[in-house]
């Protein structure tokens, strides 16, 4: 079983703050972390490998420093890390990102499964997983909460829906995006950390993956950001005072239209 896990390096949400003075993002001390959903995708891949044998390749697209999350992936059980990095990728929207990752996966050769997190916590689009599957021309299922069985070239799993879940059967090769319910990711072992430290991360450029210049980065992106602004501030805030009962009375008075 050869499994490719897509991993994104994202800013740690708890550090992201708006500077009230300048109204821009305060980035001092913002740490970069592995996208939390991708951690679950990686864990699932490593578990499948442990049961069925094979190889887990961690793949990331990003600036050179994204190498860190690939080493972390190796420390958590991935066999190797591949970084696609090129100045030409800058400004990529989800279409161009799906295209780039698609070319990268194909450059890595045949695969049985591609696993992705449901979405990245910085962009929150959840579009790259389905987009990548479409580029690779393989069937996909999003928001997988459990893999039930893997038998030969067939996979049974549970896909989270808004009102419950569906049990879905699909063939291998395929692509899945996972939610955090699927597993509890492990922490890296000492042996894993040693391996990660020594590991060589393969770095591939746009040319290495045969990407067309008009399909990558901003040039390859159908969407454009035309304006960036601060969200309108919330209205007035009222914090009630008095005993619990007095506070409740004041609240209920205000909530009239909802009650």
């Amino acid at each position: 079983m050869k499994i490719v896990v897509c991993i994104k390096q994202v800013p740690d949400a708890k550090d992201v703050r708006l500077d009230p003075e300048t109204n821009t993002l305060a980035r001092e001390g913002v740490e970069s972390i592995m996208n939390p959903f991708d951690r679950h995708a990686l864990e699932e891949a490593v578990r499948i490998k442990e049961e069925h044998g094979g190889e887990v390749v961690a793949l990331s697209m990003g600036p050179p420093q994204a190498e860190t999350v690939l080493r972390e992936a190796i420390s958590c059980g991935a066999d190797r890390g591949v970084l696609v990095s090129d100045r030409g990728f800058a400004g990529a929207d989800t279409w161009a990102t799906s295209y780039t990752l698609g070319n990268a996966v194909q450059t890595l050769g045949e695969f049985d499964m591609v696993l992705c997190g449901k979405q990245a916590i910085d962009g929150d689009t959840a579009q790259v997983g389905p987009g990548l599957a479409t580029q690779l021309r393989v069937p996909f299922v999003t928001c997988v909460q459990k893999i039930r069985t893997i038998e030969g070239k067939s996979l049974d799993l549970e896909r989270m829906m808004d009102d419950g879940y569906d049990v879905v059967r699909l063939p291998i090769p395929c692509l899945l995006t996972v939610v955090k319910d699927i597993n509890e990711p492990r922490t890296p072992s000492l042996k894993g950390k040693m391996k990660a430290k020594k590991a060589e991360i393969t770095v591939l450029s746009a040319a290495d993956i045969g990407a067309k210049p008009d399909c990558i980065g901003l040039a390859g992106s159908p969407t454009r950001v035309v304006n960036v602004f601060s969200p309108p501030p919330r209205g007035d805030r009222t914090v009630f005072t008095g005993s619990a009962e007095e506070q409740v009375d004041q609240l209920v008075e205000q909530l009239g239209k909802y009650i």
Binding site: R87, A90, S221, P222, T223, P231, R237, V239, Q247, Y258
Partner: protein
């Protein structure tokens, strides 16, 4: 890429301060771009001496003839024979866009034996209902639904396609946009038309709601966007409204699937789809156990509301994951959100800050959640929540 004119740059540092990505630095009195530049362009507008510009080598799909595309479409999501509420909300938003462009508003209806839903969609604002009624469309499957929608779009060429940011919409629409090589913007909170050229201006929160970004799709069609439930307003249903049904016969190839749905399991507990609810009562670590959760359930029942939770409560096993609000859960925008014993970590607040009215109940008066609250109550939730429930019961009884 971002080009900096070294002759013009005066090294004032305004662009550096405005870059949300920390991609610009000042070296020897001149701006320098780093690897983390995403070409968002916000620096270009802030530069007083016009030293910055973004150059694009070749534009994607610039061969697309935009004039061939006309009409606004809404994907009418149908599950178990019922059209989801978000579809009517999108018809409300789509009606405005179509009227501005003086084009028709179409609803796309896929399913098996769903023809009778077409009249409801017309009453909800659609001029045309594009109907593909086939037994292969009985259950939602990514590949079949995606392929059929691709065929419909390629045949009828709408300029705009909107879909709900639901489990189904968020899974099949990206496939369609990728296949058609066009732009898709997720989770828009505002949609408007630029009159001169019919560009759909799609505004969405980025960076966990810290920034709003307006996005357009300049060179390709259709312009596609998803919108979360409860963000747009539906029209008042009008059964006098007239409209036409346009039958669509998908090719056999589009109806062929690699995916089989073996079983569809509905969640046992009610009101699990928290994105569709008007009122949510949410609980966090402060509930201190399942017993605390039963308190907020009682309040929710009294208000006809659903129960939501912070990550801490879900991780403690007091309530299941579909109820989780926040960065690794769901984003909700109900009319009323009552947060009980939730501290207000950003992972949570990004998922609920667009609620119309937010009430926070917390014993720590300095809890961050009060920064987001319309109304704050400081005190013991084990005392306040039952009081609130009884008070509401009394008010309603009158």
């Amino acid at each position: 890429m971002l080009i900096i004119d070294k002759e013009k740059c005066i090294g004032c540092g305004v662009c550096e301060a405005n870059c949300a990505f920390g991609a610009i630095s000042m070296e020897d009195g001149c701006a320098v771009v780093g690897d983390s530049c995403t070409l968002c362009g916000s620096c270009v507008d802030t530069c007083d001496v016009e030293a910055l510009k973004i150059e694009i080598a070749a534009d994607a799909g610039s061969t697309c003839n935009l004039n061939e595309w006309s009409g606004v479409w809404v994907f009418a999501e149908c599950r178990d024979g019922e059209v989801s509420p978000v579809s009517y909300e999108l018809l409300g938003a789509g009606r405005n866009l179509a009227d501005q462009r003086k084009v028709s508003l179409g609803a796309v209806l896929l399913g098996s034996n769903v023809r009778d839903k077409a009249t409801e969609l017309i009453a909800g604002g659609a001029d045309l209902v594009y109907l593909a009624d086939h037994e292969e469309l009985l259950q939602y499957r990514e590949d079949v639904y995606g392929s059929v929608l691709c065929e419909m779009i390629s045949t009828h060429k709408p300029e705009v396609v909107l879909a709900g940011a639901t489990a189904i919409g968020r899974s099949m629409v990206p496939r369609v946009a990728t296949e058609l090589r066009t732009g898709l913007t997720a989770d828009c909170t505002q949609l408007s038309m630029r009159e001169e050229d019919g560009a759909l201006l799609q505004t969405r929160p980025a960076f966990g709601g810290n920034i709003m970004a307006t996005i357009e799709c300049p060179h390709t069609r259709p312009q596609m966007a998803t919108v979360r439930p409860k963000v747009m307003l539906p029209l008042v249903s009008d059964t006098q409204r007239s409209g036409d049904i346009i039958e669509f016969n998908p090719t056999a190839q589009a109806l062929t699937s690699n995916v089989a749905i073996l079983e569809s399991v509905k969640a046992e507990q009610e009101k699990v789809n928290i994105q569709e609810e008007d009122i949510l009562i949410a609980g966090g670590r402060g509930l201190d156990g399942e017993k605390g959760f039963s308190l907020i359930k009682e309040l929710a029942d009294e208000l006809g509301a659903a129960v939501a939770a912070s990550r801490a409560a879900v991780d403690s096993g007091w309530v299941s994951y579909p109820h989780q609000v926040g960065q690794t859960g769901k984003t909700v925008s109900p009319k009323l959100y009552i947060a009980c014993g939730i501290s207000g970590a950003i992972q949570h607040t990004v998922g609920m800050q667009s609620a119309e009215t937010i009430v926070a109940i917390n014993r720590d008066e300095n809890a961050t959640i009060f920064n987001y609250a319309t109304y704050g109550l400081v005190g013991d939730l084990f005392e306040i929540v039952p009081l609130l429930k009884n008070k509401i019961k009394n008010v309603r009884g009158q």
